[in-house]
Amino acid sequence: MTLTQDEISAVVLSIKVATWATLLSCPFAIAIGWVLARKKFPGKPIVDALIHLPLVLPPVVPGYLLLLLFGNQGVIGHWLNELGISFMFNWKGAALASAVMSFPLIVRSVRLSMSLIDPRLEGAASTLGAAPLAVFFSVTLPLALPGIFAGLILGFSRCLGEFGATITFVGNIAGETRTLPLAIYTASHVPDGDAEALRLIVLSIVISLSALFFSDLLTRRVEGHLGLRATDA
């Protein structure tokens, strides 16, 4: 199977966008996952719902909202433009759209793995002189790590499949914002594009299957990890 330059570019762009989107989400997802797992505060259900919104909304909606916020005339975009940062019609915008769409998936995974950690373990750490930040980095984070990894893989896969928000926010520009799904969509609209679409579909399946396989491996590690904790109690 030989690939054209455009196809290779779509694959590379997809992986680049998904990687940056996942890396961008990671610290925020860990922080928010921790807050949701461990903290009680007024308005928590609202925060929770807002974070999950991209998961349940038609992807076009977050894409359009991003356009309003980060477009060149947008509330934030206008301000960023003056700093020389633009998300419009480039891969950074595609990464931002993917990050927003995959964020709830990563948060859910982080939150689940953190809420499964016995709070008394953290209590034990603090009675041994560990300040809250030290407790987080020496106990909570290492124990949640398998769950965080699984969440990142899940988020990465979601980024690979991102379509609606991306095309709404940054359009469909070859080499800039045309990721795999957008390339398949484009090919399917071109006369004689079936062969290309098929090649891209095969590629998509291969990449997604690899990500899933990886995720499964990590999930099993989480289960092993929890099994250890179960015999601990």
Partner: protein, 358 residues
């Protein structure tokens, strides 16, 4: 040695606690049923739970004061806590668990070093293992070591034996005594008076979120007699004895208890060693005279220190060189006209004595 002053109020759901107690004894127990608030009290002392209002101070340092808006968080209190289920960090080796608190101390604050603690608790072979590979008893010993190596100014125990079966309990008890004897003040929570009496004779009674009484257990039992907590509570004498003779052929051992000789069931300890023996207070009979021609071999002469009348029966405290507590029914006290200062013999069948550590 220890000066712990507590005056706190705390409401959580249906639990409404108001606890005030001043503890100055270096080692004491907290006794109460589950749900009585004793674990909450312990977590408040450790700083893991913030009471709604009140005051708390340890050795002159204020830990909590709502009027001044002061709350010292757990990690700044230097109070160790041994949990019921050890709570070892599953992702760290036993060695790194032990060193977790130790590494956070300045060298000048370290009262204990790894090697002696490992030796004290006999956990040397476990050092490189993960907590998941340890038995319940081993975990609890590692948890003890971890707390000890943090050199706390007070060590709290939250029912450390409750999750263990009887056989394991017996294995851990000697280590608890060893930790007690290194001189760290201890507060030991349990719903088993036996465990507490094994370590100390000072106890705080907690019931329905209130402190019923605090002091030497006999005083406390007298004070709180009407409560269902102590009603019918089975008391034990726990003595340290020195083994004088092991006669395995005829199935007995002899040990020195104060100035007296005590006939015991065969001991596993070696002659010259100290052993712990215990006997239920209700299994000790009292007699005005030494009785001849009877199978009860131990007849220890002593003087009655006091008599505590309870709703059901009476506790008689007798000085035989060590203190012996016998539980008899109220009628016996009347019939024999037992009074403080009277000379009596404590009759103890050898077979009623047992070894809580083996």
């Amino acid at each position: 040695m220890l000066d712990l002053d507590i005056h706190i109020r705390l409401k959580r759901g249906s639990f409404d606690g108001e606890m005030a107690v001043h503890i100055t004894e270096p080692v004491s127990g907290v006794f109460g049923h589950s749900g009585s608030g004793k674990t909450t009290l312990l977590h408040c002392i450790a700083g893991l739970v913030k009471p709604d209002s009140g005051l708390m101070s340890l050795n002159g340092e204020t830990l909590f004061d709502t009027e001044k808006g002061l709350f010292v968080p757990a990690h700044q209190r230097h109070i160790g806590l041994v949990f019921q289920d050890a709570q070892l960090f599953p992702h760290l080796s036993v060695r790194n668990n032990l060193l977790y608190g130790y590494q956070r101390l300045k060298p000048g604050q370290r009262r204990f070093e790894l090697d002696p603690v490992v030796e004290l608790l006999e956990i040397g072979p476990l050092l490189e293992r993960r907590p998941g590979q340890l038995s319940g008893g081993e975990k609890q010993r590692v948890a003890l070591g971890r707390a000890l190596l943090y050199s706390p100014q007070l060590l709290l125990f939250d029912e450390p034996l409750a999750a263990l079966d009887d056989r394991l309990k017996k294995q851990i008890l000697p280590f608890l005594r060893r930790v007690r004897d290194v001189g760290i003040p201890m507060l030991y929570i349990s719903h088993s008076m036996d465990e507490i009496l094994y370590l100390t004779d000072t106890v705080t009674l907690v019931e329905h979120g209130r402190i019923l009484a605090h002091g030497r257990y006999l005083d406390v039992l007298g004070q709180a007699d009407s409560s269902e907590l102590v009603d019918g509570l089975d008391l034990r004498n726990v003595w340290e004895v020195t083994l004088l003779e092991n006669n395995h052929e005829q199935g007995y051992s002899v040990a020195a208890l104060g100035q007296e000789r005590l006939i015991l069931p065969p001991a596993s300890a070696v002659v010259g060693e100290v052993a712990i023996v215990s006997v239920r207070a209700a299994q000790i009979a009292l007699s005005r005279k030494r009785i001849e021609g009877i199978t009860i071999q131990n007849q220890l002469p002593g003087k009655i220190l006091r008599i505590i009348h309870r709703r059901h029966g009476a506790l008689v405290e007798i000085d035989v060189g060590v203190v012996v507590v016998a539980e008899v029914n109220g009628k016996t006290v009347e019939d024999l006209n037992l009074c403080k200062g009277d000379k009596v013999y404590c009759l103890i069948k050898a077979q009623s004595l047992d070894y809580p550590e083996s």
